[in-house]
Amino acid sequence: MEAIADGLFTETADGPRLIGSRCRQCGTVTFPRQSSCARCTSTDVEEHLLARRGDLWSWTVQRFRPKTPPYVGGPETDEFEPYGVGYVELPGECRVESLLSVADPEALRIGMAMELTLLPARRADGSEAVTFGFRPLAEGEQ
């Protein structure tokens, strides 16, 4: 399945990784990658693959269907399925905004361990694709 956009994430032997950038001058990490550093204004930046695991920094559940455009989602005639959204803090790197694999408020709490995964998505032309998301780690996985 194709990615929702080029340059956002890549498949590795360990699983998917987000593609960010790292400033060679001050070490600041951003996602998605960009050509300069928002902290020190340097343009000396390099590509940097982000850590796969982090902690849930905050979250919400999107309970109404966002307007199209820009949202694509499933056909508008389908019943809307709420989805989880959160920021996951990747230690020493950055906090990434992301879809979550769960939309149950009882299953989400700030500080819980999360891991990068891929989730189904849809492009504006209706074709299916994958995007990145984070899923809670079970206790045995941590």
Binding site: I4, L8, P32, T60, T68, P69, G92, C94, R95, I110
Partner: protein, 391 residues
């Protein structure tokens, strides 16, 4: 940035001598530009001036057209009129511009106007216009409601704010709105009704959110030396400050944020406004703080310096931010009761403070002759404008 007047009544001071609104809400058949002209005329009538007296104007909307085209109905007098389009800071930016022009000696009398007209439902900003890839919108991340929900979710966890407190903020807004003939939502709602309404973005329910709407607000500004000739009760614009985000602050439409926390633009703008005015938060008698949802009002209370993080739980329980409390906040019902026509919101706040400081706020008048007021707007992608006003 914050040009301030250390003294009041000097020739370099800037005063507000007229304030006007077009009612907020839904107004089928009335264009945004027509609302702008109605608000501008109301402000001029309040000042006892005509459009021909105006030497400079600034204004704007986010989605309802170019402010300067309103001259075709206000009058083609040839004055410089600067269009401003700056998201939620549109009104604040227009005010900053007019203030600076008066201070610079380019005009003695200026008009600022903000207006907007949005369709029902959440804003649907396009990521490409905000420097983000289209994937961000396609996958359902381009929503201001999500941002505010996640910001207050974490804030509640860190600082012990309860869901009841969120609901109390909204209940206060609707009570105040019920006393405001220009507000959109004028039916008081109980804390229970607000808590039990549909969950929209956890932890925020339907009645904790404001809605995009329609309306217009306008002000007439005059150089201090002329202000008393024009108006018997001018309100001095002691300072106006506008800031954008710094590294590390958590902002709307951010695919990632740094692990290092930075100062939010609200805190920077508020500090600059207070410093510029030589007035502190403790001196303020009435404040209007951006309340696009009830959590925003709580967090902005702390970011603007009116309380410490976490103190809101107690303040709200005590009724401190009600009209009869020690720091009345959003006395006209705020965005929650007025809705959010983006371009008009920031100036609506100033209009309300002007009315309160002149003692002309009717049923919602803050008792005890308030002398100092404060306004604050915040918006995407991390902008804030604040003013300090005094009699």
């Amino acid at each position: 940035m914050s040009a301030a007047a250390a003294s009041v009544n000097g020739s370099d001071d800037v005063a507000i001598v007229g304030a006007g609104l077009h009612p907020f809400g839904r107004h089928e058949g009335v264009s945004g530009l027509e609302m702008a002209a109605i608000a501008a005329r109301a402000a001029l009538a309040d000042a006892g001036l005509s459009w021909e007296d105006v030497q400079f104007a600034a204004g704007g909307s986010d989605a309802a057209g170019n402010a300067d085209t309103s001259v075709s109905v206000l009058g083609l007098t040839g004055i410089p009129f600067i269009n401003v389009k700056n998201g939620c800071a549109t009104g604040g930016s227009a005010l900053t511009t007019a203030h600076a022009m008066i201070v610079a000696g380019e005009a003695d009398v200026a008009v600022v106007v903000g207006f907007d007209k949005h369709p029902p439902g959440a804003f649907n900003a396009l990521p490409e216009e905000w420097g983000i890839g289209s994937w961000y919108g396609e996958t359902g991340l381009m929503l201001t409601t999500q941002f505010f929900a996640m910001k207050i979710q974490r804030y509640m966890e860190l600082h012990g704010i309860s869901n009841e407190t969120l609901a109390r903020v909204a209940a206060k807004a609707f009570v105040n709105g019920s006393r405001n003939e220009n507000a959109w939502r004028r039916r008081p709602l109980s804390v229970e009704e607000i808590l039990d309404s549909r969950m929209v973005n956890d932890p925020l329910t339907q009645f904790m959110f404001c809605s995009p709407g329609e309306g217009a607000a306008a002000l007439v500004l005059a150089r201090g030396g002329r202000a008393r000739e024009i108006a018997s009760d001018p309100v001095y614009l002691r300072s106006v400050a506008f800031r954008t985000r710094k590294f590390g602050s958590f902002e709307v439409y951010s695919p990632s944020i740094p692990v290092e926390d930075g100062t939010p633009p609200t805190a920077e703008a508020a500090r600059a406004a207070f410093e510029g005015a030589g007035i502190g938060p403790e001196d303020v008698d009435v404040a209007q703080l951006q309340d696009t949802e009830s959590g925003a009002e709580l967090m902005h209370l702390a970011e603007t310096g009116f309380c410490a993080d976490g103190e809101q739980e107690q303040l709200i329980a005590e009724g401190a931010t009600e009209i009869t409390g020690r720091l009345p906040v959003n006395t006209d019902g705020g965005c929650l009761a007025n809705g959010e026509p983006i371009g008009a919101s920031g100036l609506r706040q100033v209009v309300e403070v002007v009315r309160q400081l002149r003692g002309r706020a009717g049923e919602r008048q803050v008792p005890g002759e308030p002398k100092v007021g404060f306004t604050h707007v915040y918006g995407a992608p991390g902008v804030s404008a604040c003013t300090v006003l005094s009699r």
